[in-house]
């Protein structure tokens, strides 16, 4: 691997960057304050093919690879982290498992609306009493004639409040422990499925994060994803993939923060000179650029591993990319605020938002602690 982008990846990068700078930049600060879901932009992005980047053309997607997905998510997140997450979830957390584990009928039915954003995707694993410990989930699904009857509550679900297609996990057989978890494709208008509380978040505030409540929800039998008991495998496999684009979000947010900090350091004066002349400021900028560069290489490398299928399981590479990049983003955005001084603490400048947006990266889709466990397990086998 030589880390160079291919021709089509470079073009994709240019188009997504120019889209983000023109269309996303003006709304990003507004939706951060209002929490309003950016439907307009999501629809426009669907037209460009960004909602189904990794989905084959025959299902309405753009048929690019995972490095390309990372490039796109980085460019979107550089300008608007909320939009980056929404697009990432639709691609890797929802379209990907359907593509990978769905039947032909399921793919034909659900992938086209996901790609066109006629219906947006969301994924429900987490529950009030089951976060890092997925197997502690309490939701259950019982087969009765042609339907599974689903009961339980999912919490913290990105896109939850606005999505039309949900991939949800529940126990079909509690006795089998994690081998008894199954995955379901659930439509928004399913009887017995309602939305609960909307979360007020610290960052990525426009992502319609919402509780999902299932009370004797009737899911058609054919909406089981994979086989009964495949849920845990589907979940882990999907999280490996989505770690690539959480890493890409981190790189994008940080790149945005670095560029802001560079610009500001060349305008702001203190003690009679530009702050960019101070060695400590230069030192911080150099550290930030180095950290971002390293994270970007790790993310590309994880994407490359996925695309080439080497090594066949790339949990370690994906975990390293996500863990490193998330950690890096919190540090880099903190430094960006520092370079802005007091102004960085106000809503007048993007770095304040980027700093808040970065924190979630260390938490979702596996906390940093869980990632370290994954990495150490591979090394200490």
């Amino acid at each position: 691997m030589n880390f160079d982008l291919t021709n089509d990846q470079k073009m994709l990068q240019r188009e997504v960057r120019s889209f983000a700078e023109t269309e996303l930049a003006p709304v990003a600060p507004q939706i951060d304050v209002s929490g309003e879901f950016p439907w307009d932009n999501i629809k426009k992005m669907a037209k460009l093919g960004l909602l189904g980047i990794i989905v084959p053309e025959k299902y309405g997607g753009s048929e690019f690879d995972f490095v390309s997905l990372a490039v796109a998510i980085e460019e979107i997140s550089r300008i608007c982290a909320s939009t980056g997450v929404i697009v990432a979830v639709n691609n890797s957390l929802v379209s990907y498992p359907i593509l990978q584990f769905g039947t032909e009928e399921q793919k034909e039915k659900y992938l086209p609306p996901l790609c066109s954003a006629d219906k947006l995707g969301a994924m429900g694993i987490t529950e009030p009493n089951a976060g890092s410990d997925v197997a502690a989930m309490e939701s259950t699904a019982k087969l009765e004639a042609n339907h599974y009857i689903l009961n339980g509550t999912k919490r913290f679900i990105t896109n939850g409040g606005e999505a039309g297609i949900f991939v949800v996990f529940a126990y079909t057989d509690k006795d089998l422990k994690y081998k008894g978890i199954s995955a379901f494709i659930i439509e928004r208008d399913t009887p017995g499925f309602t939305l609960g509380k909307h979360e007020e978040l610290m960052g990525i505030r426009a992502t319609a994060n919402c509780e999902l409540i299932f009370e004797d929800a009737k899911i058609p039998k054919e909406n089981l994803l994979g086989k009964e008991g495949d849920g845990f495998k589907i979940c882990m496999n999907t999280l490996d993939v989505s770690r690539i684009d959480i890493g890409a979000q981190a790189v994008g947010i940080s790149q945005g923060a670095l560029e802001e900090a560079i610009k500001y350091s060349k305008e702001r004066k203190a003690f009679g000179q530009l702050i960019s002349n101070f060695e400590m400021i230069q030192g911080m900028l150099a550290e930030m650029a180095t950290q971002i560069h390293a994270a970007r290489l790790l993310v590309y490398y994880a994407g490359y591993c996925k695309d080439k299928g080497i090594p066949p399981r790339f949990s370690k590479e994906a975990a390293m990319a996500k863990y490193f990049a998330a950690n890096m983003a919190v540090d880099v955005t903190r430094k960006a605020v520092q370079i802005y001084g007091g102004y960085g603490y106000t809503k007048d400048y993007a770095v304040e938002r980027l700093y808040r947006d970065a924190k979630i990266l260390e938490l979702y889709e596996g906390t940093s602690e869980i990632h370290k466990i994954v990495i150490a397990r591979e090394l200490l086998r």
């Binding site: 021709n7 089509d8 073009m11 188009e15 460009l48 093919g49 980047i53 753009s62 048929e63 690019f64």
Partner: protein, 257 residues
């Protein structure tokens, strides 16, 4: 309607630090990023809009070095059907006139109804390629278009004049138009179009196809320099009354009103 769009790849200098090369005749380019000239993007979009209305084909042409193939591929992704690169590396030094000659040498053998160029290149700002090319091809032209409508082989165009005036003229096609920015809203290329464009071949034309003999170079760059900046900042302090009095004095003294 068959349309030709001339496209240039230019350095993005808005936020970059521009330095002069040691030859004194060019800028240092290795740390700059390059992209399609701004008004060319509008020209391309205008071509795509016409094609959507009337059918036909769009050919994007660029006289440039091989790096510019990226830019031509962008044009393909945004709606051009084919792309031609005239190999700049084959033709030594270039100026506006020589560029127009090379473009016309290629275009004269192609069927077209309309040629679009940008109204100005943001790097050398010659603004003469369009008009010169039209003359060399013996077709009418209009510059600085802000609107175009084609009805029965007659194009109705609006030109932007100084002072906010617009001129409306009618020109029969084939004709050449140079396009002003803002005439439309250029589209983004979809990912599928990008993937298709990435695989397309770009036709190359070089010294084997065009003889160098008759090409004329009319201008030569003597020197490129960054003009010295004259600092004229004066900060006036005092009470509002004193400040306004002094300010008024300065304005009167400099003849600014």
């Amino acid at each position: 309607m068959d349309i030709i769009v001339c496209i240039k790849r230019v350095p993005q200098t808005a936020e970059a630090k521009v330095e002069i090369e040691s030859s004194g005749k060019d800028i240092v380019k290795d740390r700059l990023t390059f992209d399609m000239n701004e008004s060319d993007m509008y020209a391309l979009e205008e071509a795509v809009l016409l094609k959507e209305k009337f059918g036909g084909t769009i050919i994007a042409i660029s006289l440039s070095c091989s790096d510019a193939e990226d830019t031509l591929r962008i044009a393909l992704a945004k709606g051009a059907d084919t792309a031609i690169r005239i190999k700049a590396e084959d033709f030594d030094e270039l100026d506006g006139y020589k560029t127009a000659q090379l473009l016309s040498a290629v275009i004269k053998d192609i069927h077209f109804d309309v040629i679009f160029t940008g109204c100005i290149a943001t790097d050398d700002a010659y603004s003469q390629i369009g008009a010169t090319l039209a003359e060399l091809l013996g077709i009418p032209h209009a510059t600085l278009l802000t609107n175009i409508e084609v009805i029965d082989s007659i194009s109705h165009v609006h030109r932007e004049l100084e002072g906010g005036l617009q001129e409306h003229i009618e020109i029969s096609i084939p004709a050449l138009f140079t396009i002003q920015t803002g005439i439309n809203v250029p589209r983004y290329a979809s990912l599928i179009a990008i993937r298709r464009a990435a695989g397309k071949e770009i036709k190359l034309v070089g010294q084997n196809e065009i003889s160098k003999d008759q090409l004329l170079l009319n201008t030569q760059i003597e020197e490129l320099f960054i003009p010295p900046v004259a600092k004229q900042v004066k900060i006036i302090t005092g009470s509002p009354g004193e400040v306004s009095k002094e300010l008024a004095g300065i304005i009167r003294e400099k003849g600014l009103i």
